[in-house]
C-alpha cells in the first residue's frame, strides 16, 4: 500500500509541476542560464480561428488544453465526468535531437463524479511527447497518452480512457456550432492585454457510449461541454486563482462565466458568454459577471474551504449552482501542489432546474508554491 501511495505521490508531484506551468504561476520557472530561453508567442487580438486547423494542437504556445466535462445517465443514475488533456511546452531542451527531449509534455486526467461513491474516481497520466506514446496532433484534435485518447473523427469526438478503476468509451457528437469565446476567440484573462488565451467551446455535445466502473459496464448518454484553450500566459501574477463555470442549459442554450480572484478575494478580471437557444451570442464583459458563494464545503483531506454552491450573475441571468455532491475536490496529492475543485453542478433559477454543467474552483487550497 505504501508503494501505491508513493507512486501516486510521485506522479502527482510531477504533474503538479505541470499544472503550475500551465497556470503560469510559478515564479521559479526562470530557465537556467544554459538553456536558451524560449520565446512563446503572445496571444493577440485579430487572429481568426480556422477549423479544423485550430481544433489541433498549437505546440508553439506554452499551454493548451482540451477539457471535456459532462453529465450522463445510466439506469436513472446521474453522474458527472471529465476528460482532460493538457499540453505544455516546457521550453526545455528544444535543441536536443533526442526523441525523449521533454519539449512538450502531455498529461491527462479523467474523473467520474458518482454520488454513490461519495468522492471523485480519478486517474491521471503524464508523459513527454514522443514515440507515438504521447502526442498532441497538429491540424486536428488528436491527443493521446499511454492509451488514453481524445480525437475528432469526422464531426464528432471520441474519448477512450482506461483508468485504474473505470473505463470510459464515449462518443461526443456536436449539435451546435463552435462557440468562440471573448472577441472572436481572443479571451482576456487579466487587466493586461498579454494575459489572454485563444478559447472556444463546443457546448451541448451529445454523449453516448459506455462507462465501466469496476466490473460493471454501463451504457450511458447525456450531454457534455468541450473547451479548447491555448495561450502563453493566463494567470496574472497577482491572482490567487479562478472560478469557472460552463453550463448546458435545458433549452439548448449555453452559459460560460469565469472570474480571476485576487489574493484578497476580490475579482481581478471576469468574462463569459451566453448563447441562447436560437444561437444568439452575448459576450460578457467583466462588469457583467459576479460569483456569490452560497455554501462552503471544507475538504476533510486538505482542510480547504470551497464555495461549492454559487449564485452566478451573467449579464441578465442569475443562476444558482448546486453540486452533484460536495466532495469533488481533485485531491491528487499528499504533498504540496495544486489541489482544486472540479465538479458537476446543477443550475437552477428560483429553484427551477435550468441545466447542468461543471464548476471549477482553483486557488482555494492555497496558491501553489513551487
Amino acid at each position: 500500500m505504501t508503494h501505491f501511495y508513493q507512486r501516486i505521490n510521485q506522479i502527482t508531484r510531477v504533474w503538479c509541476a505541470c499544472v503550475v506551468l500551465f497556470t503560469g504561476a510559478a515564479p521559479s520557472l526562470s530557465l537556467h542560464a544554459a538553456e536558451t530561453a524560449v520565446v512563446y508567442p503572445d496571444v493577440k487580438t485579430g487572429r481568426t480561428l480556422t477549423f479544423p486547423r485550430d481544433h489541433g494542437a498549437h505546440p508553439e504556445y506554452r499551454t493548451e488544453w482540451w477539457y471535456v466535462t459532462g453529465w450522463v445517465e445510466s439506469r436513472g443514475v446521474e453522474r458527472g465526468f471529465q476528460v482532460t488533456f493538457f499540453r505544455v511546452r516546457t521550453g526545455l531542451q528544444e535543441s536536443n535531437e533526442s526523441q525523449f527531449a521533454p519539449k512538450q509534455l502531455i498529461f491527462a486526467h479523467a474523473a467520474i463524479a458518482d454520488s454513490e461513491h461519495g468522492w471523485l474516481r480519478l486517474d491521471q497520466r503524464v508523459a513527454r511527447e514522443g514515440f507515438d506514446l504521447a502526442a498532441a496532433s497538429v491540424g486536428e484534435t488528436g491527443v493521446e497518452i499511454d492509451g488514453w485518447t481524445l480525437f475528432r473523427d469526422g464531426d464528432g469526438y471520441r474519448a477512450r480512457i482506461v483508468a485504474s478503476d473505470f473505463v470510459l468509451n464515449l462518443d461526443l457528437a456536436p449539435t451546435q456550432p463552435v462557440l468562440l469565446q471573448g472577441r472572436a476567440g481572443y479571451s482576456r484573462k487579466g487587466p493586461q492585454a498579454g494575459q489572454a488565451s485563444y478559447y472556444y467551446s463546443i457546448p451541448q455535445l451529445r454523449v453516448s457510449g459506455s462507462m465501466q466502473i469496476g466490473n460493471e459496464s454501463l451504457p450511458v448518454q447525456g450531454e457534455a461541454w468541450l473547451d479548447h484553450e491555448w495561450s502563453s500566459e493566463i494567470l496574472p501574477e497577482e491572482a490567487q486563482g479562478w472560478d469557472w463555470v460552463g453550463m448546458n442549459l435545458g433549452d439548448g442554450g449555453a452559459l460560460m462565466a469565469f472570474r480571476m480572484r485576487a489574493r484578497n478575494g476580490e475579482t481581478l478580471w471576469a468574462g463569459g458568454s451566453v448563447r441562447d437557444a436560437n444561437g444568439n451570442v452575448q459576450i460578457l464583459s467583466p462588469g457583467d459577471i459576479t460569483f456569490e458563494p452560497l455554501r462552503q464545503w471544507r475538504s476533510p483531506r486538505t482542510g480547504a474551504d470551497y464555495p461549492v454552491a454559487m449564485r452566478v450573475r451573467a449579464g441578465t441571468r442569475v443562476i444558482d449552482l448546486e453540486p452533484l455532491m460536495d466532495d469533488q475536490e481533485l485531491d491528487s496529492s499528499f504533498s504540496t501542489g495544486i489541489i482544486y475543485w472540479e465538479g458537476a453542478v446543477r443550475a437552477s433559477v428560483n429553484g427551477k432546474p435550468v441545466g447542468r454543467g461543471y464548476l471549477e474552483l482553483t486557488g482555494y487550497a492555497g496558491r501553489p508554491r513551487m
Partner: protein
C-alpha cells in the same frame, strides 16, 4: 580443580598454545571476514539491483552502449505491460578525478511508476527535465563532498560536460553512489542520441513474468535480452562466487593448520603429563573423563582462538572495505560503498569450525593418553610407546589414489570443489604414509661412523613412528606453502609475460581506465599520430556486449590483429583457423569465453552488434587475465566497418629509437590537454598491474607465512615431546660416557634427517598440489590458464632455511628438555 587441571598445562606451553590459538584465530577471522565482506557486497549489489529495478517485473538489457530506443514503444504498448521505464545507464568518468560515478538517464514520468527510489527530489520540479541538471544520491554527495547548487563535471570523449546539482535522490539505499539525469539529457551529453540500454517493465496484475518475457523476447534486437528480476540478481551475485569460494577454502586451510598445531601441542603436553594423567586415572577419573578433560583443553583454545578470530575478522573486513572495497581489490563492484553488519549465524558457524578444528586436533592424543594403562604410565619410561604403532600402507595409498582421481572430476555447480578435495586427500594420504616412507628412507641412509650420529639414525630406523608428528607437521606446512608459492609465482610470471605480450608498444595513451564515457575522436587520433617521435601507432576500441541472457557483459575488443598471425598481439593458447575469403570474419575468444559459452576454434557464432547478429568465425583462443567476464577480439578494421564508429579507447605508441620518452609524453599532453587521458610506459602499467595482483594475493602470502610458522612450531613441539620422552635414554647415554655435546649432535642429526625427509616429501607433494591448483582449481574458478613456473631459487632458499630452522627448532627443544638434568631422569626409573 578441573579448571586448574586445564589451565596448568596451557600455561606450561604458553608459546605453543598461543600459536595454536593464533592459527585458529587466523582461520576463523579469514573465513568470517570473507563472509562479512561478501555479504556486504552482495547486499549492496542487491540494493543496487533493487533500486534500479524497483517494482519492475522484467528487465531488458543489451550492450552497455545501448540499443535503438525505438524498442521502447514496442515494449510499452503490449497489453500485459503496465509501465515501461526506459533508461540509459552509464558509468561516467568524473572529470578531473580518477574515479567514476554511475549515471542513470531516466524518464521521470515513467520511472515514478516503477522505480520510486531513484526519483529526484527537487525544489523546482522542472529541474528533473532540464538539459543541465543532475541529482545525486546522498552517498554520492557525501563522497564527492558536494551539495545542491554545486557543479559536477564528467569527461565525455576528452571534453568536460558540466551539470548543476539540483537535488538529491532521497530514496536510494544508504551507501549507494548514483546520479540521475533526464534521459534526453543523458542521450545528448553522453552522445547516445537514439540509444537506451535498459528498460524496466512493470506488468499488469495477473500477467506471468515468465510468459510475457518469452513473448517479448522475439521483439528485441539481437543481443538484447528480457530477464526476470531473479535472473538479474543471480547474474550480479554470481560474479564473485568463485572468488569467494576460493577465499573460504583458504580460510579452511588456515583452520586445518591450526588444528594440526593443536594436535602437536596436545601430543607434547600429553607426553609431559603422562604420569599426571595416570594419577588422575588412579584417583578415579575414568578413561572417558580423561578424554573429555584433554579435549576440553583444546576446545578452550579453540573457543579463545575463534573469539579472537571473530574480532579480527570484523576489524579486518572493515579495514578491507575501507581500503579496497568489497571485491577485495578484484575490481568487481563499482560505485558501491559498503556497510558491515555483524552476522550472528556466520559468526556462530565459524566459531564452531574453529572449535572443531581444535577439538579434532586433540582427539587423537587424548585417546592415546586415555588408552595407557595407569599403572604402567605412572612408572616412568613408558612414554615412547605412544608413537610406536605403525600404520599400514593401505589407507595412505587409497587416499592418494582417490585424491589423484578426484583431480580429474568436473567442477560441482561451477565450483572447483573436487580439486580442493583432491588436494586434501593427497595431503592426508601422504601424511598417513609418512612413517612407512620414513622407514624405507632411513633404512637406506648409510650408518655414519661417528657413534652418536649412528645412534640417532638407528633410533629413527627402529622407531619411525616417533617422528610421525614432526613429519606430519613439516610435510603439511611445506607442501601447503610450496603449492601456494608455485601457484602464485606461476600466475605472477604468466601475468608478467602476458602483459609484455599484449602491451608491446613503448607508450600507452589510455582513456579506458575509469568509466565508459571517455574516448579519443578520429581528430585526436590523427593528432596523436603526428606527435614527433612517434614511429608507429595502433588503436584499441571496444564495448561491452551480451551474447546470452543470464550472463554478464563481455568485452568486445578491437585492435590491430593480423588474422594470419594473431599470436603477435594476442596470447594464443590454441591453434588458429584462418577463415577463407567468403567465410565469416575471424574473432579470437578468451579462455573464459571458450569455457563459459562452450565455443571451440572453428565454430561459427553470432555476435550481436548494434542490434543485429554478425556471423563470425572463432579463429583462436587467447589468454586474458584482464577481463574476468570474458573477451572477444576482432580486428579494428572489421570493428569500424561493422559499427561505423571511429572512436577508440586507447592507443599504443612505438617511438623512434632516438626519441626521448619524456619529450613524447609532453608532446602528447599538448596534443591532448585533457587530464583524463592517462599516458604511461609499459613498465608503469606492468608495475600497476602487478601491484594489483600482489594486493589481491596478499591473503595468500600471509597464509604461506602462517603455514611455515605453524610447521616450525609443530616440529618444535613434537621434538620436544620426543626428547622429553627419551630423557632416560639420554641419561643412560650420559652414564655410559656420552658427552652432552654428543647427545646434542645426535639430536641435531635426527632433526636434520627428519626435517630433510619432511622437506623433500613436502616439496614434492607441494609441487603435485600446485599442479592441481593451477590446472584444476584455478582453471575451474577463473577459466584462465597459466604456465607453471617453478620458483627454483625461492624454493631453494626456502628449503635451506626450513632445514636450518627445523634443525634449530629440534636442537632448541632438546636443549630445553635436557636442561632439567637427564642424569636424574634415570633415577626416576625405580
Amino acid at each position: 580443580m578441573f579448571l586448574q587441571l586445564i589451565a596448568g598445562p596451557l600455561r606450561q606451553n604458553r608459546m605453543r598454545v598461543a600459536l595454536s590459538l593464533l592459527a585458529i584465530a587466523l582461520g576463523v577471522s579469514l573465513g568470517y571476514a570473507v563472509q562479512l565482506i561478501n555479504r556486504a557486497a552482495v547486499d549492496e549489489f542487491g540494493n543496487a539491483v533493487q533500486t534500479l529495478s524497483g517494482e519492475s517485473d522484467l528487465t531488458v538489457r543489451g550492450s552497455r552502449r545501448g540499443f535503438d530506443d525505438a524498442v521502447y514503444p514496442l515494449l510499452a504498448t503490449p497489453a500485459e505491460v503496465a509501465v515501461a521505464s526506459p533508461m540509459l545507464d552509464i558509468d561516467g568518468r568524473l572529470d578531473g578525478r580518477n574515479d567514476r560515478l554511475r549515471i542513470i538517464g531516466l524518464d521521470v514520468f515513467q520511472a515514478a511508476r516503477v522505480q520510486p527510489q531513484i526519483i529526484p527530489e527537487a525544489s523546482d520540479r522542472m529541474d528533473t527535465l532540464r538539459g543541465d541538471t543532475i541529482f545525486l544520491s546522498p552517498a554520492a554527495m557525501q563522497w564527492l563532498d558536494t551539495e545542491t547548487g554545486d557543479l559536477i563535471g564528467f569527461q565525455v570523449g576528452t571534453d568536460r560536460v558540466e551539470f548543476r546539482i539540483a537535488g538529491v535522490l532521497p530514496g536510494t539505499a544508504a551507501g549507494q553512489r548514483l546520479a540521475v539525469v533526464d534521459i534526453a539529457t543523458a542521450q545528448q551529453h553522453f552522445q547516445r542520441i537514439g540509444l537506451i540500454n535498459r528498460i524496466e517493465l512493470r506488468l499488469r496484475p495477473g500477467a506471468s513474468a515468465q510468459s510475457v518475457a518469452q513473448r517479448l523476447q522475439p521483439l528485441l534486437p539481437a543481443g538484447v535480452y528480457v530477464e526476470t528480476q531473479q535472473s538479474v540478481s543471480q547474474t550480479a551475485v554470481a560474479l564473485t562466487r568463485a572468488y569467494r569460494v576460493n577465499l573460504n577454502v583458504l580460510a579452511l586451510v588456515a583452520l586445518f593448520t591450526g588444528g594440526l598445531l593443536v594436535f602437536s601441542t596436545q601430543a607434547l603436553s600429553i607426553v609431559q603429563r603422562r604420569s599426571q594423567h595416570a594419577l588422575l586415572r588412579v584417583l578415579g577419573v575414568t578413561r572417558r573423563g580423561l578424554v573429555w578433560l584433554l579435549v576440553g583443553e583444546a576446545a578452550i583454545v579453540g573457543l579463545a582462538g575463534s573469539l579472537l578470530g571473530l574480532l579480527l575478522g570484523l576489524l579486518g573486513a572493515q579495514l578491507v572495505l575501507d581500503a579496497v572495497g568489497p571485491d577485495l581489490g578484484a575490481g568487481m563492484f563499482r560505485g558501491v560503498s559498503t556497510q558491515l553488519t555483524f552476522e550472528p549465524l556466520a559468526a556462530l558457524s565459524f566459531m564452531f569450525l574453529g572449535i572443531t578444528a581444535a577439538v579434532c586436533g586433540s582427539v587423537l592424543p587424548a585417546l592415546e593418553a586415555a588408552r595407557a594403562a595407569p599403572a604402567r604410565a605412572l612408572k616412568a619410561g613408558d612414554e615412547t610407546r605412544m608413537f610406536e604403532r605403525l600404520t599400514s600402507f593401505v589407507p595412505g595409498l587409497t587416499l592418494l589414489f582417490v585424491g589423484a582421481c578426484t583431480a580429474f572430476a568436473p567442477p560441482v555447480a561451477g565450483l572447483p570443489l573436487p580439486g580442493y578435495v583432491s588436494i586434501a586427500l593427497l595431503l592426508l594420504g601422504t601424511i598417513a604414509l609418512m612413517p612407512r616412507i620414513a622407514m624405507i628412507v632411513f633404512e637406506r641412509v648409510p650408518l655414519p661412523r661417528r657413534s652418536e650420529l649412528a645412534l640417532g639414525l638407528a633410533q629413527l630406523r627402529a622407531a619411525p613412528g616417533q617422528a610421525m608428528v614432526s613429519l606430519a607437521a613439516i610435510v603439511a606446512a611445506v607442501s601447503l606453502a610450496t603449492s601456494m608459492a608455485i601457484m602464485v609465482v606461476s600466475f605472477r610470471t604468466s601475468l608478467e609475460n602476458w602483459l609484455e605480450h599484449i602491451l608491446p608498444g613503448d607508450m600507452f595513451v589510455r582513456t579506458s581506465g575509469y568509466g565508459e564515457t571517455p574516448y579519443l575522436s578520429p581528430d585526436e587520433q590523427a593528432r596523436l599520430a603526428r606527435v614527433p617521435g612517434v614511429r608507429r601507432i595502433e588503436f584499441l576500441a571496444g564495448q561491452r556486449i551480451r551474447i546470452e541472457a543470464g550472463r554478464p557483459w563481455l568485452t568486445l575488443l578491437a585492435r590491430d590483429v593480423d588474422p594470419r598471425d594473431p599470436g603477435r598481439k594476442l596470447s594464443l593458447v590454441s591453434d588458429i583457423v584462418i577463415p577463407q575469403s567468403g567465410q565469416p570474419l575471424p574473432v579470437w575468444i578468451s579462455e573464459i569465453v571458450a569455457d563459459v559459452y562452450g565455443y571451440r576454434v572453428g565454430d561459427i557464432i553470432d555476435l550481436p552488434l548494434d542490434g543485429r547478429n554478425v556471423a563470425v568465425t572463432v579463429s583462436g583462443i587467447w589468454r586474458d587475465y584482464a577481463r574476468m567476464q570474458g573477451a572477444v577480439a576482432m580486428t579494428l578494421e572489421s570493428y569500424r566497418e561493422l559499427t561505423g564508429s571511429n572512436d577508440v579507447a586507447d592507443a599504443q605508441l612505438w617511438l623512434d629509437a632516438k626519441a626521448n620518452a619524456d619529450d613524447v609524453r609532453r608532446a602528447v599532453r599538448e596534443a591532448l590537454p585533457e587530464p583524463g587521458v592517462e599516458i604511461s610506459e609499459p613498465h608503469e602499467l606492468q608495475s600497476q598491474s602487478l601491484a594489483i595482483f600482489d594486493r589481491t594475493f596478499a591473503v595468500t602470502y600471509a597464509l604461506e607465512a602462517v603455514a611455515i610458522v605453524i610447521g616450525l612450531a609443530g616440529l618444535s613441539a613434537s621434538f620436544s615431546a620426543l626428547t622429553l620422552a627419551r630423557r632416560r635414554e639420554f641419561g643412560m647415554l650420559r652414564h655410559i660416557g656420552f658427552s652432552r655435546a654428543q647427545i646434542m649432535r645426535m639430536l641435531a642429526f635426527e632433526g636434520v634427517l627428519v626435517s630433510a625427509l619432511g622437506l623433500a616429501v613436502g616439496l614434492l607433494l607441494g609441487w603435485v598440489m600446485s599442479a592441481v591448483l593451477i590446472v584444476v582449481v584455478n582453471r575451474q574458478s577463473f577459466h584462465w590458464s597459466m604456465d607453471i613456473h617453478m620458483p627454483w631459487s625461492g624454493l631453494g632458499v626456502f628449503a635451506i632455511s626450513m632445514l636450518l630452522a627445523a634443525t634449530l627448532a629440534a636442537v632448541a627443544s632438546a636443549r630445553r628438555t635436557m636442561a632439567g638434568g637427564v642424569v636424574r631422569a634415570v633415577r626416576e626409573d625405580w
